[in-house]
């Protein structure tokens, strides 16, 4: 409190008090240099991003800006799956931001509005300002101390930056520079904050005899508390004055150095993450970037092929490791970590794109050289979108990977195992090397005829999909689904020989030309049929028809089988008389749960069937991929890797007394059955499709199927 004896204009801090003129000049020169270095850095970084292809990712500006501000202020994405670290980051963020605003206000008062005759930093404003700054300083220091504790004592594996795609001894294997930078960042900030408080304290000691300062000392509560300690230790006004001068310079130079280094160090994330969050494509995990397949070349093989958005995102990465932790390829010791991929590209950009003139030759990003992305890294991806989902700053790793795969496919350079698959897809529209004619052969095992949607109108067009049509294990599920729909009296039909794969995996493997050809052919076929909705048991098909076909003019209402089953059971169209007394757990398909957010329908069905559902530790948006996606189901697993499906099966085995691991996707079924066998769990629990459980509850599954051996025998004879 201050008495009304004082003129409020005198209740302030006199800046540069007792400074000789030369000191003032030196300070302003240093400040101008620091700001100049800062501005040059910002400009050079923007120049780097602007060498990319224009993406237009920041328009419309205001909705994106509002969205970004909301995300940043709430720290929603930073807190996700890391409550404590996220909250502490929020303390640092708010502490730092307030202190920065405070310092800027003083500069404004002193150097801009002051010379024009307008001052505002005095009186009540000054006093409230003091308290706010102290609270901000404490928040900043507490947050930084926690981060130091976290780095030093929690020793999180995700904060280890050694590259999984390099061997010890490779020049770019060790990233200890990043670790040193992290620590330098923490120490610099905390020293700036602490010296700020000491400076505040030394001023109180120094000016303790000036009533106008002393009377309002508690408006700098932390500084005053420290001042009492200093005085208790015998520091007098003169010593306080000397200390203040020394600390002033130390604090000031350190803070200016910090500002100058912002655009050159990890501190830049203050700005780059804002840009990245604004540019973030909310559809990025569902829909791969569209491209003109008639263009000269497609995909990304050189830096000049990246859009400005991706170039900025390389610099937005804060190395937090959330994607590193979530990635199934990383967990299985494949040479991929989404974080390290982004950092690799950042380093290569800094090696090659920093100079004032753009590089004379386009800089190739895929290859075996230092800081280049290795093809095997790109082929390790499952496109499960775990990385893009959890990235707190909106980096779109998955589309980057697909873009680079496109370039590799164009060059014809990839795993030889993938070639027969792609050639089969080109020739007959399926990935299993089967003829078109064979696609509907599973229907022979039914004792009723499925309508031919090409020839007659149906309510529901069932898009069966590749694995569901051809894979022997999945066929059982396909047959079960047909029986359920038939029993429920649904008017449904299929496309028989003319159905081709919807192309989700084709697109994600990078064969964009083939994907677009498939999409166009499928849309033409669908448009020639009469139906109300589409249903599919395959989440990959579901995702692509729902999210990627509209780009090619295919707009349909599509449901995943789980949604349809939930509705049919709820409406009483599917009676489930058989009680299923199973303890089950559920493996969310990436393309259903995380990518499309449809986590509830399968759980509701399990609830309707009365199953005892125990959740896996990683579920819903944090589900762990079975390893099949992005074309990986077509590729072999190198011997020194762990199959994601086996890691997942082990996770399920951790739930005691489990009867069934429920899956809801043909590819998950294929992978998880292997995973359960591979981990020796086949006697502990079974893998079943949700559809099979519904069939069992309906009492349909005991229907004798036509003898399979006879069928095989007749096929053999025919082909002999």
């Amino acid at each position: 409190m201050f008495s009304s004896d004082y003129d409020p204009e005198n209740i302030t801090r006199i800046l540069f008090r007792d400074f000789p003129t030369w000191m003032l000049i030196v300070f302003y020169i240093v400040a101008v240099i620091a700001i100049g270095v800062f501005l040059y850095g910002v400009w050079a970084q923007i120049r780097k991003y602007r060498r990319g292809v224009r993406s237009g990712a920041w328009t419309p500006f205001w909705p994106r800006f509002r969205n970004m501000v909301g995300t940043v202020l709430s720290h929603r994405t930073v807190k996700r799956r890391a409550r404590m670290a996220g909250s502490m980051h929020a303390w640092i963020f708010y502490g730092f931001t307030l202190l920065f605003i405070g310092t800027s206000l003083i500069t404004l008062d002193q150097d801009i509005t002051g010379p024009l005759g307008f001052h505002f930093w005095y009186g009540w404003f000054y006093l409230v300002f003091g308290i706010v700054m102290d609270v901000a300083g404490v928040a900043l220091i507490v947050g930084l101390l926690y981060m130091m504790y976290r780095r030093k004592w929690l020793a999180l594996p995700k904060l280890d930056y050694t590259r999984p795609d390099r061997e010890p001894g490779d020049p770019d294997y060790d990233r200890s520079g990043y670790r040193r930078e992290d620590w330098a960042f923490l120490w610099t900030l905390i020293i700036i904050a602490i010296t700020g408080f000491l400076l505040e304290a030394s001023r109180v000691v120094w000016l303790q005899n000036e009533a106008i300062v002393w009377d309002v000392r508690w408006h700098a509560p932390v500084g005053t508390a420290i001042a009492y300690v200093m005085m208790g230790l015998g520091l007098g006004p003169e010593g306080g004055g000397d200390l203040r001068m020394g600390l002033w310079w130390f604090h000031g130079i350190l803070a200016l150095t910090f500002i100058a280094l912002v655009p050159y160090t990890k501190v830049m994330h203050i700005f780059t993450t804002l840009g990245s969050l604004m540019a973030r494509d909310p559809e990025g995990k569902r829909r791969m970037p569209s491209v003109d397949v008639d263009a000269e070349h497609i995909g990304v093989s050189h830096f000049s092929d990246f859009t400005d958005k991706y170039l900025l995102q390389f610099d937005a990465c804060t190395k937090c490791g959330k994607c590193h932790e979530a990635c199934p390829a990383r967990a299985g010791d494949y040479p991929l970590s989404p974080r390290d991929l982004v950092l690799t590209l950042r380093e290569l950009a800094n090696d090659t794109q920093w100079k004032s003139a753009p590089p004379a030759e386009p800089v190739r990003v895929i290859g075996e050289g230092v800081n280049m992305v290795r093809p095997e890294t790109l082929w390790s991806c499952r496109t499960c979108a775990a990385c893009i989902e959890i990235c707190p700053v909106g980096i779109e790793h998955l589309p980057m990977i697909v873009e680079m795969r496109r370039a590799l496919v164009e060059e014809g350079e990839f795993d030889p195992m993938l070639q027969p698959t792609l050639r089969s897809l080109q020739k007959s529209g399926n990935s299993l090397g089967e003829s078109k004619r064979k696609r509907p052969r599973w229907t022979r095992k039914l004792d009723f005829e499925i309508k031919d949607a090409r020839k007659e109108p149906v309510d529901v067009l069932w898009y069966v999909g590749d694995y569901a049509s051809f894979d022997p294990r999945s066929q059982k599920v396909t047959i079960a689904f047909a029986r359920i729909l038939n029993a429920a009296g649904v008017s449904f039909g299929i496309l028989y020989e003319d159905e081709q794969t919807a192309g989700n995996d084709v697109r994600r493997v990078g064969e964009e030309g083939l994907f677009q050809a498939l999409a166009e052919a499928n849309i033409e076929l669908l448009d020639s049929c009469e139906f109300k909705t589409i249903v599919t048991t395959d989440p990959h098909t579901y995702n692509t028809i729902k999210n990627e076909y509209p780009e090619f003019g295919g707009n349909y209402t599509i449901e995943h089988a789980s949604m349809m089953l939930e509705r049919l059971i709820r409406e009483g169209k599917i009676p489930t008389p058989v009680e299923l007394d199973y303890r089950v757990t559920f493996h969310d398909p990436c393309h259903l749960g995380r990518i499309n957010g449809d986590v509830e329908p399968p759980r509701q069905v399990m609830g309707q069937l009365g199953l005892d559902l125990v959740e896996l530790p990683r579920n819903r948006d944090n589900s762990f991929c079975c390893g099949a996606g992005g074309g990986r189901i077509w590729l072999g697993d190198p011997p020194d890797t762990k199959k994601p499906a086996e890691l997942r099966a082990a996770e399920a085995a951790g739930i005691g007394g489990l009867d069934v691991l429920v899956v809801n996707c043909p590819k998950c079924l294929n992978m998880m059955e292997d995973g359960v066998k591979g981990t020796g769990n086949e006697d502990n629990f079974r893998v079943m499709e949700l559809i099979e459980l519904v069939e069992e509850a309906m009492g349909l599954s005991d229907d004798p199927a036509p003898d399979e051996d006879d069928e095989t025998a007749s096929e053999t004879a025919a082909s002999a």
Binding site: P416, Q419, R423, S428, K438, E511, G513, T716
Partner: protein
């Protein structure tokens, strides 16, 4: 400098099929057409030589077939070949390997390549005769089943390795120009993306008739003729499983059955 690669569009049989009414071939509804597997390797080998020479060589793809075979031709062009030649006349419908070789010989005379590659055989008929006959007609050296090759454009000789029966291999030097029949596995063929295949439509393809080559229908009369094609009766096989005793009793049962006991 020019390498000529002859390719064929082959039929890939479905596992259920019907014969044509005349009984001399499979009904075309029951197979899908594709570039001959072996030709992926011969095209790749030519492209590798071209690329190693800094693109200072032309790779020309030749096929004999109707317009449906453009797919195979374009697949080869999409991989990086420079241009294509397609020869067709309805009288070639029943052509055998020797007849095709007669046509190809005229193309070779016209193009004057430094080297001709063919696939070791076609994956549908498998006669492995076209390359050999072509070399014979041209009077050029020929090497069959080549599984490794050292050759640069302009060389007078090529060094190659051939697979022999009984697991043997031989290394030989061959005078150029020559006709080489390329074996599977000599390289890792690249993939032709669908986009690439579509864009290969831009590449020049000469469509020639027999007249253009100075041939008449009589001069390419096939040396052989298919009389009948059929699926032979197959013997039965059974995998006997179970314990040793169960297996033995099942075996005894089969023996009794076959002996009519």
């Amino acid at each position: 400098m020019k390498i000529l690669v002859t390719v064929k569009q082959v039929a890939a049989l479905d596992d259920e099929f019907e014969m044509r009414d005349d009984g001399r071939d499979v009904d075309e509804d029951f197979f899908e057409e594709d570039l001959n597997e072996f030709d992926h390797y011969s095209v790749e080998e030519a492209l590798l030589i071209k690329e190693a020479a800094g693109d200072d060589a032309e790779v020309v793809i030749v096929t004999v077939g109707d317009e449906d075979t453009d797919d195979a031709l374009r697949t080869a062009l999409a991989k990086g070949a420079d241009r294509g030649i397609r020869v067709w006349d309805d009288s070639l419908a029943d052509a055998d390997g020797v007849a095709i070789a007669r046509v190809l010989a005229k193309v070779v005379e016209r193009e004057q390549p430094d080297m001709v590659f063919t696939g070791a055989q076609s994956s549908d008929f498998g006669s492995a005769v076209t390359g050999m006959a072509l070399a014979g007609l041209m009077g050029w050296p020929h090497a069959a089943v080549v599984c490794a090759l050292e050759y640069s454009p302009g060389d007078n000789t090529a060094t190659l390795r051939r697979e022999l029966e009984g697991g043997l291999e031989e290394i030989m030097t061959i005078r150029c120009p020559a006709v080489l029949s390329i074996q599977l596995g000599i390289n890792e063929p690249r993939y032709a993306s669908l986009r690439g295949i579509k864009q290969a439509k831009q590449k020049p393809v000469d469509e020639l008739t027999l007249d253009d080559l100075g041939l008449s229908a009589d001069s390419i009369a096939p040396a052989s003729r298919v009389r009948r094609m059929y699926a032979p009766e197959k013997g039965q096989a059974e995998l006997i499983t179970g314990s040793a005793a169960e297996q033995a009793s099942r075996l005894a049962e089969i023996i009794k059955e076959l002996r009519g006991m």
